[in-house]
Every structure is written in C-alpha cells, then in structure tokens.
Amino acid sequence: MKFAVVVFPGSNCDHDVYYVLKKVLNQGTIFVWHQSTDLCGADAVILPGGFSYGDYLRSGAVARFSPIMKAVEAFARKGGLVLGICNGLQILLESGLLPGAMLRNRSLKFVCREVGLRVENAETPFTRCLRVGDRLRIPVAHADGNYTADEETLRRLEGEGQIVLRYCDEEGRTVPESNPNGSARNIAGICNAQRNVLGMMPHPERCSEVVLGNDSGRAIFSSMIESLAQAAH
C-alpha cells in the first residue's frame, strides 16, 4: 500500500501521521509537496493537521488553491480514499469535497484535550474495524473546530449516515457538555455521500501507540489499510 501525506507550507502534523503509517503500521508512505501536481500513484491520501498558510484569511482557505489539490479532487472523484485531519478537514470543507464550514470554537480559545468520540457509522473505509456505538478517546487541538452547516445539510448528513464521529461523554452520550468546540450536533467527523472522503477534527495519529498512553486512534488507520487490501483483491 502507498499512502501520500500532503505537505502544505505550515502543515505540522505531517511528520506525525507519516510516522504512524510508516514506522508503526509499516505502510509505504511518501510526502507530497503542495506544489506537485500528481500523487505519485498513491492508494490513499492524507491531508494532515497544522496551520497551512498560517490559517491566515481563514483556516484552509489558501491551501485549497495549492496545485496538489486539483489532483486530490480528481483522486477523490474516482473513489480514492482521502482522510483530512484537523486542518485537513478544514481544507476539505474549503475545497467543497465535504459540505459545511468551520467557525471559531465557542470558547474563542484554542483547545487541546483528549475527548470522547462515539462511532456513528462503522460502514466506511475509515471505521470498518470499529462498531457503531464504540467509544474512542482521541485528542483534539484546534481553534476552529466548531462545525456548522445549514439545517438541510445537517439533516442530509444525518439521514445518509455521513456523520461518522460525534463527541461524547464517558457513558457515550452525545451531550453538550462533551462538545469541546460547540459544533453542530456534536459532529467530530463527517464523510461524503460516497464514503471515500473522511474529515475529522480529532487527531488519531496522536494516539496510535501504547507508549503514548493511548492507541485508540489506530483503528482509523487499520480500517483504511484493510479497505485498501480488500480493494486490491
């Protein structure tokens, strides 16, 4: 398998996700510079977290115009797996690969914390190793994670099973108290209608190793690897 980690100026979780894929999960992994126009034959693409272009103007707003994004869009349209994490999700929203937009966190402050997540859809290539109702603990670290969309879009996301992950408390309840940023319907991660593009605010690459005290994020990457392996057969 070959994963491509796209590097924008200001990406800062690129090394982290590369490390998990390459060193922890032993997958072929390459960095692709944002000026590049092709994905070098990758089987899956990761848009990593960070502050592409310093989050200046609006998070993700400049990065979506990087040359590589044309290739990512074409790849996604053909059904290729694309995972956007944190700033990656913001870029996916800006480029229209996923619906909705991000507002500043309701607290108006950056928040770094391990949060509870409930799996809402296990029939995606990113969650197939999980079950609906599973509870994960994954860190968030962002200032703009307050997901919003118009009512109709939210209803559609809900109806089509495109809400993949929601913030929840210790008992798995998706209550306001468990929402770290004020996002609509406690949304932490959404996918497109075809299920091949997932964007999530929490960082699974930060909790994929036992030495870091938590490896519950690994299931996201393992699911992708399984999906790709199955597709290859």
């Binding site: 200001g10 310093g54 402050k109 950056f110 770094c112 408390d169 690459e205 930060r206």
Partner: protein, 745 residues
C-alpha cells in the same frame, strides 16, 4: 569631546561614551552609537552579571556546548544531543501581552534551530501579580493566548511550565520561555563566521521599525506609563517562522553552512557582530540590500530593528545558488548582504557610503563589565524574622485549610492554561502537563527525556542563596520522580534593578546557591539568560532565578506518574518532615505572613533521596512518585488523589509528633511521596534504611475520601470528587471566567 544629548535615551553613561570614543579613536556616527547602545545594553552584554555568572559550573562529561552560543548542548547517547535554552520576554509582555509572549516563544525556538536541532518541546514559566491587580486578567489571558498562538501554529508542543501569582509582579510580570531540540551530535551548527570572502546571507521576514531598541528597553526600569514604549514590542509571524525552521533544517542537511545565527535582541547588529567576533573575523554588509517593509528607514533603524523571523548566515563561497534555491522553495526572502573579511571589523555600508565601521570584538567581548556594589538586607528584613509557632495559631478545621490551599491561585489546577497549548503535536508526549515533570519519548530510541522548570521566588526573597539552591534541587527532584536522571540545566535569572546594591546582593547570593547545588548534584549549567531591571516605579520584583532542567531515562516505559493509580497500594513518605513553616504557602495563604527562613537543604541527603526514587522507578516498582513542595505533605496528598485520570481516596495516619498544621503544611525539602504494592514499598523501605534516609508508611489508597489522622484524631476528611471540582474550576474564576458547557469534561 562633544557628548551627544540623547545619551540617556540610548541607555549609555558618559563613561561608556568615553570608552566608545577611545575604541574608535573618534566620535561615533549616529548609527554606530545606536549599535553600541544595543550591544552594550545589559540585555545583550551581561555587563552587571558576567563576573558572577563565571561562578556557575558549566563543565561535565556530557556537555557538548556550554554557555556562549545560541543555546547549550548535552550528549544524551545514541549519537544524539539535546539543545536547550530559556529566555525572558518580560518587558514586552507587560506592554503587549499577546505579541510579547508570542515573540518570546519565537525567539527561543530560533535559538534552538539555529544550532541545527529540531525543536520538540517548549515550556513556559510565568509570574503574574495578584489576580485582582489592574490589567492582570488581561495580561494572563493575553500571555497564555500568545504562547499558544505561536507554539500551536508552528507545531511545537508546550509540554510543561508553571504559573504563579504574587503582588511583587503587579507592575512587572515575568514571561520566561524554554525550548529544547534534538540533533545528531556531530551536526551541531555554531555561530562562528570564518573564511574570508564567504558570502553573508539574510533570510526571512523583511525589516521594519518594530522592536527598535528592544534590548535597550529591556535594560531599563519602567516608569508608570510603559504603554508609551509599545512601538518597541515586536510582532510575531509563526507561519514565517515555520517556513524558516523547515528551510534551515533542510539547508543544514547539506554542507553549505559555515555559521548561522538568528537576529534576536539588537537584530542585525548583534547577529553580525557576534558571528564575526566568535570567529575572529570581520564582516562587510550592505544594508541597502536588506528587505524592508517600510519606506525611508535610516541605517540606524535597519541595524537595530528587532523584526522577528530573520536569520543571518555565512555560507561557503560558490554555494549561493543552491542555498537560495532551498529558501525560495519555502517562499522566503533571501538576500546576499556581503562577505566575510579578514580585518576583524564590522563594516556597514548603505550602498556606496560607509555608515559604521567598528571592531566586532568591541561590540561583544570588550563591552564594559561591572562589579556593581552589593548590600545585604536590613536587619528587619522578613527573611531574618524567624517564625515562632507560638505566634501562629493552629486552625481547628484543617480540612478547610487544605481546601483553601488547593484552590488558591498558586496551587489550583492549571488546566485553563495548558488546554490552550497544543501539548501533543509531534507525538512524543508521554505524560500530559500537570505532573512533576514533562516526559517525552525520543523517536528511534527507547529513551525518555524529562524536563521541569522551577523557582520558589518567595524563598529566594527571604534567602536568595538557599532559595536558588532549592530551585535546582526541586527541578532535579521533579525529574527523579518520573524516573529521569538530571543531565543539565538552563536558567533565566529575573531580578530587579542591578544599580540597587540590594538587588546585586540577591543576585550574587542566588548564583552562589545555584552553583553549590549544581556541584553537589553534578548538574552543569549549559545556557541561560539574565533579566535585570524588573522594576516598576521603584519597586523591584522578588529575585526569581528560574531553573529549567533536563533529564534522561534509558527506558521511557519505566516511568512513574505523580498521581495515585491503584486502590490498595501503600503510600510511603520518603524523607522527613520538620518544623519548617518559614516562607511556606500555608503561612502566606492562611496567616498572611511571608517571613522566616526557607527550609534547610542538605544536598547530600537530597541526592540520596533522588537516587533511591530513580532506582525504584527504574526497577518498575514505583507506581507513583510525587515531589513535596508548595503546600507540603497535605497538598501533595490531595494532588495525588485528584490530579489523575481516575479519582482515588486514601486512609492515612501521619504518625509524627509535630503540631498537626506543621506536619501537614511544612515545606521541608528532600521529600517524595511514593505509592506502590506492599512488596515494592518494602523494597524501598530497605533501600532507605540502608542509606540512612527516614521513611514512613502513611496508609493505603482507596475509597472516595481523603482521610488523614494525626495524633489519634481524624483531622482531615474530604470528599475527593468535590475537592477535584473546586480545584479544577478555580483558575477560570481567577481570570473572571465561568466554565461553560463543554469545557467542564
């Protein structure tokens, strides 16, 4: 000789002006005068501190680079080195908290990657005035947001630090930033120019009028209207710094770079003068080529601008093209400014015209050094007024006292602060902030790196020598508690006005105390920073010599946490509690007294206690180890119960013959609270016995209450869930916020 009338504004004395004239054998040009002013400022020249700093031990088997470079470096094995340093950004942060703190982080990070090391951790040590003092909640909010804003964006985790409040900082807060990076030990870059005709290159942001004479500002006391100095505060751009970081590290994988230094205080002047002086060469630069962001800047302004995110490099002749290519890839501005010369002069041209020509060493090594007068404190200094128990009434409800301490500004949860910092990016953070020390794994090895920053300024005020020795001892104890062996330290020495003999006495004594503790514990000082003139309207701050220490462990998985983890475990107190209430948090919070001598410190015992704890952790027998410090045994026990991911109660009996409030809140040194299985505790007890260290089993972990007996009666009986809620919400209340939905879990 004609004396310029703006000498005072330049922060120079008449005597210093005379020295300049003697060096140049003529009157300086305005640009030259400004360059001397910046370089001979206290901030850049260490003119008042140098004679004392020489007393600190800087040698050791692991030391690869001691003081004198951009940062210090320590060999940590496996062919790797850690590079680290701490610096103050106090004055700018008081004027403009967000940008002041943000650029403090930016500046210290450049010191690290300038050496070729990839920064992997930041810590911050903050001191604020009383929360109710004017502007204070604005300052707290701004500083924390500024540190986060910069560190989060550039993607270096803020893994630890400390925050404390005291009225002595009402008009002069402290913002000290520490950064650490990792590099192959044979790839450390230095700022030593060499090779006549080698090109001198400028890279990074363009130069503006921001921060002009920031170094001089940091070398003067504030009047009451510090806001007027706002133009001397720099503005940070973490995105450009991120590009600069990646570009420099990419460039350093080649062999093009001869020397490199960031433009920090005194900007282009200091970077060019210091690189030339260290290498014993000269530099000739044309500032007409410096990228500008403003029209009409004078040579003086260009040479002294402290615009951020700029670096100066000397590269090998003929390598200009590939060097430019790397910087262009990262969208950075890069310009060839000039060449290395053999004449030892820093020559500054503006096009055809020479605007400055100064022997480089005159700006650096030949800066004045002062042995300023010192004066011991008066006989009625609070440090000389011993604490007598007969003057201190014992409170009847000690549970109430403990609650008050745990929710007090200095001891309540720092979660409000640390959650604004990205502490987990780069995926090395093994322990989240909040424990005794930060712990990082080192990718590609089994090793762990621990770090801690400490200083009890109240103790340093009461007895600067003993207080500073305690700062070293406590930082080392914190590292030992997670299981790491201390290998080196950096300091940031924050003091008042050095022209006050009492301040210089405090400084001299603090250095003596630090030096003594460093020698006894065998920990070299590899870098550091001095911040004088922390004075507003005639009032000096308490002496605050911050110590940031780094430790190493062979196997990062063999570490201890600072909170209880398992019901049924035995709680052991290693070390001895004595009647030492002097300078304690208890005395200050409960009895409004700040007096007496800080606790005694037997460095030999300290060393033994730390060895016993480290060995216990290394054997894997210690489940938790927590250093006893502010608030003593009572507060440490409460923290063990409430600071972990799961709550634990405990049933304990102190079994000593001290007065109950002394037993609970005395801050005697060299004590550690351990928990583990009965077998593990037995092993530790025999270690203590064989090495002459007192220890005592206090009881067992379990239940939902913290119950502490003393002399046959139950003195504390608190619900740990309630205590945790009070502790965790207290900080937000201090800065005038209530905890909203979603911020409570």
């Amino acid at each position: 000789m004609p004396m310029p009338d703006n000498l005072e504004a330049q922060g120079l004395t008449e005597e210093e002006y005379g020295r300049i004239v003697r060096i140049l054998e003529r009157d300086p040009t305005p640009t030259e005068l400004g360059m001397f002013s910046g370089m001979w400022s206290e901030h850049c020249s260490y003119k008042s501190s140098r004679v004392h700093l020489e007393k600190l031990p800087t040698q050791g088997d692991r030391v690869l680079q001691g003081p004198g470079e951009n940062a210090g470096a320590i060999d940590i094995g496996d062919g790797l080195a850690v590079v680290f340093k701490m610096e103050s950004h106090n004055h700018p942060s008081f004027i403009e908290p967000y940008q002041g703190a943000a650029t403090g982080v930016g500046g210290i990070l450049r010191d690290i990657f300038t050496m070729g090391a990839r920064p992997i951790a930041v810590m911050d040590s903050l001191r604020f005035g009383r929360p109710e003092a004017p502007r204070m909640s604005h300052l707290v909010g701004g500083v924390v947001a500024g540190i986060g804003g910069y560190g989060n964006c550039i993607g270096i985790p803020t893994v630890g630090g400390e925050v404390a409040f005291h009225s002595c900082y009402d008009g002069n807060i402290l913002v000290n930033a520490f950064a650490l990076g990792v590099v192959s030990k044979d790839r450390i870059f230095r700022a030593r120019a060499s090779g006549v005709d080698n090109p001198v290159i400028y890279v990074g942001s363009s130069t503006g009028r921001d921060g002009i004479h920031g170094a001089t500002m940091a070398s003067a006391a504030f009047g009451s209207g510090g806001e007027e100095r706002r133009p001397t505060v720099q503005v940070g751009d973490p995105f450009t710094e991120k590009l600069l970081l990646e570009a420099c590290l990419e460039l350093m994988r080649t062999d093009y770079v001869v020397a490199i230094q960031d433009m920090g205080a005194a900007g282009l002047t200091s970077s060019s003068a210091e690189m030339a002086a260290r290498g014993g060469v000269g530099l000739e630069i044309d500032i007409g080529k410096v990228p500008r962001r403003e029209e009409g800047m004078t040579p003086y302004e260009v040479m002294l601008s402290e615009s951020q995110e700029r670096m100066l490099l000397v590269v090998r002749e003929g390598c200009e093209e590939p060097v430019f290519e790397i910087f262009h890839k990262w969208d950075l501005q890069v310009e060839l400014l000039g060449r290395v010369t053999g004449d030892g002069f820093l020559t500054v041209l503006d096009g055809e015209q020479t605007v400055a020509r100064i022997p480089a060493r005159a700006l650096t090594d030949e800066a004045p050094r002062y042995q300023r007068p010192t004066a011991a404190p008066d006989a009625d200094h609070p440090g000389a007024r011993a604490v007598s128990l007969s003057d201190i009434s014992e409170p009847a409800d000690l549970g109430r006292v403990l609650e008050r301490l745990v929710t007090s500004p200095n001891l309540c949860s720092r979660r409000w602060v640390v959650e604004q910092y990205d502490y987990s990016v780069r995926t090395n953070t093994v322990l989240p902030p909040g424990g005794d020390a930060a712990l990082l794994r080192l990718k590609g090895t089994h090793r762990g790196l621990a770090m801690s920053v400490d200083c009890n300024a109240r103790w340093c005020f009461l007895d600067p020598k003993l207080g500073a020795a305690h700062a070293v001892a406590e930082a080392a104890r914190n590292l030992s508690c997670v299981g790491a062996e201390p290998v080196g330290l950096t300091d940031c020495l924050n003091f008042g006005n050095p022209e006050h003999p009492k301040t210089m006495w405090q400084f001299e004594k603090a250095i003596e105390g630090m030096a003594e503790a460093c020698r006894a514990l065998n920990i070299p000082v590899v870098s550091g920073n001095v911040s004088f003139y922390n004075e507003t309207a005639g009032q000096d701050i308490h002496p605050t010599p911050m110590v940031a220490m780094v430790g190493v462990m062979e196997n990062v998985e063999r570490h201890a946490v600072s909170h209880f983890t398992s019901d049924g475990d035995i709680v052991l107190l290693v070390g001895e509690t004595r009647e030492e209430l002097g300078g304690s948090e208890y005395l200050a919070t409960e009895h409004q007294r700040e007096q007496g001598s800080p606790p005694g410190l037997d460095l030999e015992r300290e060393r033994t206690v730390q060895e016993i704890v480290r060995e216990g952790v290394r054997r894997g027998q210690v489940r938790s180890a927590h250093d006893l410090s502010d608030g003593g045994l009572g507060v440490a026990l409460a923290e063990c119960c409430i600071t972990g991911p799961s709550l634990h109660g405990a049933d304990l009996d102190l079994q000593d013959d001290l007065r109950a409030d002394v037993a609970l809140f005395s801050e005697s040194a060299s004590r550690v609270l351990i928990s583990g299985s009965a077998e593990a505790i037995g092993h530790l007890e025999s270690d203590c016995a064989s090495r002459g260290i007192p220890c005592r089993r206090l009881g067992k972990i379990g239940g939902g209450r913290l119950r502490i007996r003393h002399a046959g009666s139950l003195r504390i009986d608190l619900d740990v869930a309630k205590l945790r809620n009070a502790w965790s919400g207290a900080f937000a209340a201090l800065v005038g916020e209530t905890v909203g939905a979603g911020e409570g879990t």
